[in-house]
Amino acid sequence: MSAPTTTVSHHEQAGESSIWVSLPWILAAIGLIGCVIGYTSNPKQLGYSYLTAFMFFLSIGLGSLFLVLIHHIFDAGWGVPIRRYLENVACLLPYMGLLFIPLGFWAENLYPWMTADPHTDHALSVKSAMFNKKSFFIVSAIVFAIWGLLSHKLRYWSVRQDETGGSDCTHAMRRWAAPGIYLFAFSLTAGAIFWMKSLQHQWFSTMYGVYYFAGSVWITLATTYGAALILKKTNQVPMLQRLQFYHLGTLLLAFTIFYSYIHFSQYFIIWNAAMPEETFWYVLREKGTWVYVCWALILGHFVVPFLTLLRIDVKLKWAVMVPVICWVWMIHYVDMQFNIMPLYHPNGISPSLSDLSAMLFIGGTLAVIFLRNFRAHSPFPLKDPRMGEAIKH
């Protein structure tokens, strides 16, 4: 039987001079300056760059929320030490609502359907009940409200359990997670359709919500692995063990396969039926240098991580996993570019300074908020009933 309590030594971040505190501020400031320059030189490019960065970081927030929801629904034990980190990342989602405001202002320039005439556009007129400015902003507000409610309620009960240790907190988290998973599925799909798919409103695919979900969980697992590594190395969450790293690595492999399966299926069904109202989306992405991006996705999103992660032992080798994490970040960004940028750069991929600026600004800002939240509570759940199970292996 496990001992009732265990005492661990761990390091707490302290002092305003810590690199972890100042670096995000610096990055956000550099990013902001870059965005201002980008806005004065080419506001439309900045708009698309900002949307790409926004959808990139949104993936990580949504993926984290999903992992927390699933943890509670399936009554998992192994993920307890890393759950507080995930809860804090998920709690960035309502702040992303604030970062969405610039997109709201630029929306007319980003989404062609906002300025198109429904009377002359069949694809728009059939869904005009949904594709109008009012619906766009109302749905956007609703999805951020859902994410804010779920992420904060789950963290609230988790933090409260640190004090009481009661099983009622576990039950409360489960009660939130149960309807939460449905709300999550609905809101993620709505966000992916409104903010990304609607860039080409004529196109449709029932798979698209699943496609964005698969990529989101993929990058979240890689990010979580990296974060776990930092938390372990800095001794902030010392109870992280081989079990957690192994499961995160295995899930990363599983989602490498799942994403590839989803994207291949979508492409294959559209290619095989060869209906012009569907194929145009991929035809645009096979023009110019975008075709190389297609190949980069095939190799980078599937072949390379699949072959790398296939071996059992590599999931515990930092020398392999750290480059894999960097690779996943890069490829997921390429995937977001593949979805968004062909509309603005139809002849091929065209990296710009605005891309980097938007990434630094949004990433830096979110990192500042994350660190503040993360330092406000224990870096791991103190009295979760499943902690003993998570560390006994």
């Binding site: 069949h122 949904m130 989803i262 069904i269 039926a273 103190l382």
Partner: protein, 486 residues
């Protein structure tokens, strides 16, 4: 800068959150062997005969109908224009779907280190094999001139006619046959240590036999079980090779589980038929197959655990976990139904939208709402712990799942075909009595094979269950030889 701190965290688990063991009542390793092997030893119980004889009769009905079909032609079915794919394809997809849970439980749950699979994997794998056999009948007899069915295989014939490799129906031939072969191998692989257990028990039982007939039967059984246990002695080397082979087969089976139903979904999705051509079909079909497979596992194992006295091995925890998978996959299927309808509207294609409106409110509206009620609404009952842990209630819901998943395939096939682009060719499809009896007959075939499996092979994986008992864990208070009662 960082400072060092000490933090105390709790590692206690409140009573109400403690996980129940996978084998109840501290059953010993010997008890597990005795209990599971006893089903194959001694005279068959009465309930087995009560189930077996009707199953044989129903199976005979199936083959009689097939004989009638072959001798007369596919006109004996209710097919018409435009519904050229009728119940045969519906039944094919239904049975293939049921065939999914076995290899899923065996392969994917094994790779994910889910120990609870051990009590149910053997029966689920057997179910897979028998379900795929039932499924394979339908496309074969659907070709009309069954004596040309071998043309499906890429064998050059006298007329130099080669199969149409661009057709997903041909992909099915390869996907299903590969899946069947690997599932059979995987099932057999797992059986080897248990077959050797039965062989060794027969040797012990032979000592007490005096009648010549009894000794002959015992000897014959020893020979058969010994032959199929491939000289298994349980040595360290045998176990080492076995574990490696099992892991490799699990790795190979996993993509097959996903590929088979994805390819079945391509039968529909790669076409341009409204209601069929939708990109979410592959994962939706896979989720639906897992859903229906778990439904059938529950239908079979809930009565069996009582009839065979295996409540301590197939526990309510196992039932509860299977209910959770059923709930998860049922909800995914519900998401897919919703997305199909939504995108039919969103896409602006009037034919697509009509096909979906027609599903819900057309002549076959009843089938659509049966499908939604059984597949989306009924599994939601499993949010309640009482519903998940009350076997008779789970059994009823599992029947609804089976019914709902058959209707899902009915909705996809029939409602998409019966009204095509030409209103002048619209028709209403009704099955003939041959359609109905053939389908009913396949249940006889399935049950006959399953009952024979129960009678002659271990229903649960003896060696694997022993590995997940508390006694098998040397660190457990009951670990090693310290606890347990015979």
């Amino acid at each position: 800068m960082s400072v060092s701190a000490e933090q105390t965290f709790s590692t206690t688990t409140p009573k109400e959150l403690e996980r129940k063991p996978l084998v109840l009542n501290q059953r010993s390793l010997g008890w597990i062997s005795d209990k599971i092997c006893s089903i194959t030893e001694g005279p068959a119980p009465k309930w087995w005969w009560y189930a077996f004889i009707p199953s044989i009769m129903v199976m005979t009905l199936c083959f009689t109908m097939i004989g009638y079909l072959i001798s007369t032609g596919v006109g004996v079915w209710g097919l018409n224009q435009p519904v050229a794919w009728g119940w045969a394809i519906v039944n094919f997809v239904f049975w293939i779907g049921i065939g999914h849970a076995g290899t899923l439980i065996s392969a994917i749950l094994f790779l994910l280190r889910q120990k609870w699979r051990t009590s149910i994997n053997r029966a689920a794998e057997a179910m897979t094999i028998f379900a795929v056999m039932c499924a394979g009948i339908f496309p074969m007899i659907h070709v009309g001139r069954i004596w040309y069915a071998w043309w499906l295989f890429p064998i050059p014939n006298a007329n130099s006619i080669w199969p149409q490799f661009r057709s997903p129906l041909l992909w099915d031939v390869f996907a299903v046959s590969t899946y069947f072969t690997v599932s059979l191998l995987f099932w057999y692989m797992g059986l080897i240590p248990d077959l050797a257990t039965i062989r060794d028990r027969l040797r012990l039982q032979a000592v007490g036999l005096t009648e010549p007939l009894g000794r002959f039967i015992n000897k014959a059984k020893q020979y058969v079980y010994g032959f199929f246990s491939l000289g298994w002695t349980g040595s360290n080397r045998h176990w080492s090779n076995y574990e490696k082979a099992y892991l490799l087969l699990a790795g190979l089976s996993t993509p097959l589980v996903l590929s088979v139903h994805s390819i079945v979904s391509f039968d529909f999705a790669v076409s341009q038929v409204p209601g069929w051509h939708t990109t979410i079909f592959p994962p939706y079909f896979v989720a639906g197959a897992i859903f229906s497979g778990f439904g059938m596992v529950l239908t079979l194992l809930i009565p069996l655990r009582t009839l065979c006295g295996l409540e301590d091995v197939i526990t309510t925890r196992h039932i509860e976990l299977m209910c959770k998978v059923t709930l998860a996959t049922g909800s995914i299927v519900g998401y897919a139904y919703g997305m199909e309808f939504f995108i039919a509207w969103y896409g602006g294609n009037p034919y697509e939208l009509y096909a979906f409106k027609n599903r819900a409110f057309g002549p076959y509206w009843w089938s659509y709402w049966i499908m939604v009620s059984c597949n989306v609404i009924s599994p939601q009952l499993f949010w309640s712990k009482w519903c998940r842990t009350t076997p008779w209630f789970v059994f009823i819901v599992s029947i609804f799942v089976n019914i709902g998943m058959w209707f899902e395939r009915f909705v996809i096939v029939i409602t998409s075909l019966h009204r095509d682009y030409l209103p002048s060719s619209w028709g209403y499809y009704s099955p003939s009595w041959v359609d109905v009896l053939t389908f009913v007959g396949t249940f006889g075939l399935f049950m006959t094979l399953f009952l024979l499996f129960i009678r002659f092979l271990p229903l649960c994986a003896i060696s694997e269950i022993k590995g997940v008992t508390p006694q098998a864990d040397p660190h457990h208070p009951l670990g090693g030889a310290k606890g347990g009662q015979h």
